[in-house]
């Protein structure tokens, strides 16, 4: 197991390095710079700005200087927000985005697993079609539509819930969590249905039924365990995706998370911010993939046996 983890980590490092290098040179090749404004900046002022941020150095020197800083965990100062470092901005947004992502994932799991399992029990009947149709709608419905719809109904018409903010007014975390979670709920429903269907046709399930176990025990005790493996494998990348992809929801609900910075940095040509967020999120994605691989390996008895054999 240890060797498996080690290999995966070693595989991840070059990936992150390539991401850093590609991002660094790509953002520099985009036309326009961080200090280009609608009102033209006096050349002397622009020069002073570039000097303050070391943009006057040759590109390769900037690159190595960046790598050097990065090795020490310093992502540099933000260009767009003078007085703030990229580290500071990331760490102010991360807890909020992570919390939002966590609630969204919880909601997604509750709805998704229930619907998926329910559907798999009577495939190709109404009990299957109805939840699965909803899942399909959930996948198709973008959050920039669902969010405002929920706001309209629960925030404005019924006036039950606050429509923006995060932790300012009690209950303001509910609508964004549901909005972000629902698309993932749909994926999870489909994954758990597929996983369950496969398991329910296995011989050992037939054995379990043959020995007279009640159906609910068959499902919860024997089928769920294997049937949810695809869901577990999906969770890691899904959480990373939630962190990186919460931009729309954060904008609709005015949530002070990471997503808004991530997208705006590109528009602002905030070089250090683009690099910082990209490096940070790609590291997270690699990390969560790793975690979910390991989790899936542990859940799957066959794979687990292999590892045991391997490490002994």
């Amino acid at each position: 197991m240890l060797r498996f983890m080690l290999i995966r980590i070693l595989q991840a490092l070059p990936v992150i390095f390539v991401v850093i290098t590609a991002t660094f040179f790509l953002v520099r090749s985009a036309p326009g710079g961080p200090f280009d404004q609608e009102k033209v900046v006096i050349p002397e002022v622009k020069k002073a700005l570039e000097a303050q941020y070391k943009l006057d150095l040759p590109l390769h020197e900037q690159y190595f200087a960046y790598l050097g800083d990065l090795a020490q965990g310093d992502l540099g100062p933000s260009f767009k927000y003078p007085g703030r470092s990229v580290n500071e901005i990331l760490f102010s947004g991360l807890p909020v985005t992570a919390e939002l992502g966590f609630y969204a994932l919880l909601i997604a799991l509750c709805i998704g697993v229930t619907a998926g399992v329910f559907a798999s029990l009577r495939p190709n009947t109404a009990q299957d079609y109805i939840p699965m149709s909803f899942a399909m709608i959930g996948i198709c419905m973008p959050s920039f539509l669902l969010g405002p719809l929920l706001v309209l109904v629960f925030g404005i018409w019924l006036d039950w819930l606050p429509i923006t903010g995060w932790g300012d007014i009690p209950g303001d975390k509910i609508l964004p969590s549901i909005t972000l979670g629902s698309a993932y709920a749909a994926y999870i429903a489909r994954l758990s249905r597929a996983g369950m269907l496969e398991i329910l046709s296995q011989d050992y399930i037939r054995t379990a039924r043959a020995k007279g176990l009640p159906e609910w025990l068959v499902v919860t005790r024997h089928a769920l365990r294997g049937g949810l493996i695809p869901v577990i494998a999906f969770l890691g990348p899904a959480f990373a995706g939630l962190l990186a992809g919460s931009f729309v929801v954060e904008t609709i609900f005015q949530i002070p998370g990471l997503g808004r910075f991530y997208v705006q940095a590109a528009f602002n040509r905030d070089y250090t911010m683009i690099l910082g967020t990209t490096v940070f999120l790609s590291t997270l994605i690699v990390f969560f993939n790793l975690v979910s691989d390991i989790a899936a390996a542990w859940l799957n008895p066959r794979l687990r046996a292999q590892f045991k054999g391997g490490s002994q």
């Binding site: 003078p82 606050p162 209950g171």
Partner: protein, 552 residues
Amino acid sequence: MLLTSTGLILRRLLIGALALGLVACGRGESNVVQGNRDGVLHYGNGAEPQGLDPHVVTGVPENHIIRALFEGLAVKNPQTLEPEPGVAQRWEFSDGGRVITFFLNPEARWSNGEQVTASDYVWSWNRALHPGTGNEYSYMLFPLVNAEAYLKGEISDFNEVGVKALDDTTLEVTLNAPTPYFVQLMDHYSTFAVHPETLLQFGEMTDRYTPWTRVGNIVSNGAFTLTEWSLNRRIIVEKSEHYWDRDKVALNSVIFYPTENVVSEERMFRVEQLHYTQVVPLDKIPAYRQMPDTPYVQAPYLGTYYYLINTKRPPVDDARVRKALSMALDRETLVRTVLQETAVPAYSITPPDTLGYFPPKLFDYDPEEARRLLAEGGYPNGEGWPGLEILYNTQEAHRKIAVAIQQMWKKELNIDVTLSNQEWKVYLDSVTQIDFQVARRGWIGDYVDANNFLDLFITEGGNNNTHYSDPIYDDLILYRAPKAETREERYRLFAEAETMLMEEMPIIPIYTYTSKHLIHPSVEGLYSNLMDSLNLKYVRLVPGRRLPGSNK
């Protein structure tokens, strides 16, 4: 074992979801009701400010917060926009207006209780103009003798720049030429004083990124002080105990929200989470207009939306063709349909009534004349037209306008025009390089004076972007207008320049911007003006007033 833990997790998840759901019940008082009682204004500020350092940032959201925290030598009257006392109690002109002496209020205080002195201004203007600071708005102080030379590194002794502290409360300013709008510039944050000792505590004078503006560190001299700054969430300022005019300040506190999403901002207003919105989404405006006692407030704004023309690229290298394009444009219809009456048709670069200046209207919508000019320019009824491309930055509003104009030109002149959009920074690059035929542009004035619009098109103008160049025009703007003895004469010279510009038509003015806000009926003392400039000092909240249609 695994099973039980999965079951347990599932059960916990369900309980969590239920708990989330339960919090839903029972929403308390709205922000507005609470705010009216406690004197707290909930203000939609458009975006997260880049920062709060007056010599570093540029932008409108920054302006609102900085002007709550700091005060300039003079402030603008929110109704007339004429300068009135701020840190300076009064000022005197001498040497034909070339020298201005500001007499500072001895009661003016920093938020740490220290007196605001004339030497604070000298130090701060040195910082604002220092070549190392990289202040993008440094040109605001260019009317000072030697200021430009100092910024460009031609001289290095700040004592040669035209600003002197005669004593603690007397600041003498020497200008290159009489500059009628100079006192007005004292209300622009780039000319504000900062507290020298505070800055030096956190770094060098010219450092851009020190934490001196953070809560607890910042020392300011305005009506409010900074008490909370949560990134992308909110900024809270509270009434200052040391402000010289504190008795006039009615609000206890203002909360600025970074309301980037205009649709969400409008919804926040509707459920009374905000007193004031920065903008109003276009499609919501008709409904708001129909409301009795509407909270929708629209006023002309000191900005012009226009098309730049590259005067060196055929077919628009011919002034007759440029004029034909401009005259074939039905601005009234455009404003009525596409813009839903949220703009004013423009026939000049300077917006009307810029501190009493009305630009002459030199042409009108005239398709007949436009066709004649186009024929004269070599394209009778559009024959032989080589094509033309309109460039705009990627945004739905710009696209809609370009499409409408494309159709108008096709209909009236029978010419084909294509549209091209570019992402913002790419577009800025194209505009700076003058790599386009026709490009969309907007200009928002920094101060209320026609000079701020007309000096765009001098030959050396960094924002000219059209290759337009005329020594007579340059002379008018750079030498003759500043020397004008009276306001009337100066405005007459501006009108002359305006005429020259429209004769050559290097730009096609399209419309004058408006400011659009939703303002809760409980808010008083917020006036509409051309600068969309509000002074929070005068704002009061009246409890008990509700939004029309509000049922709570």
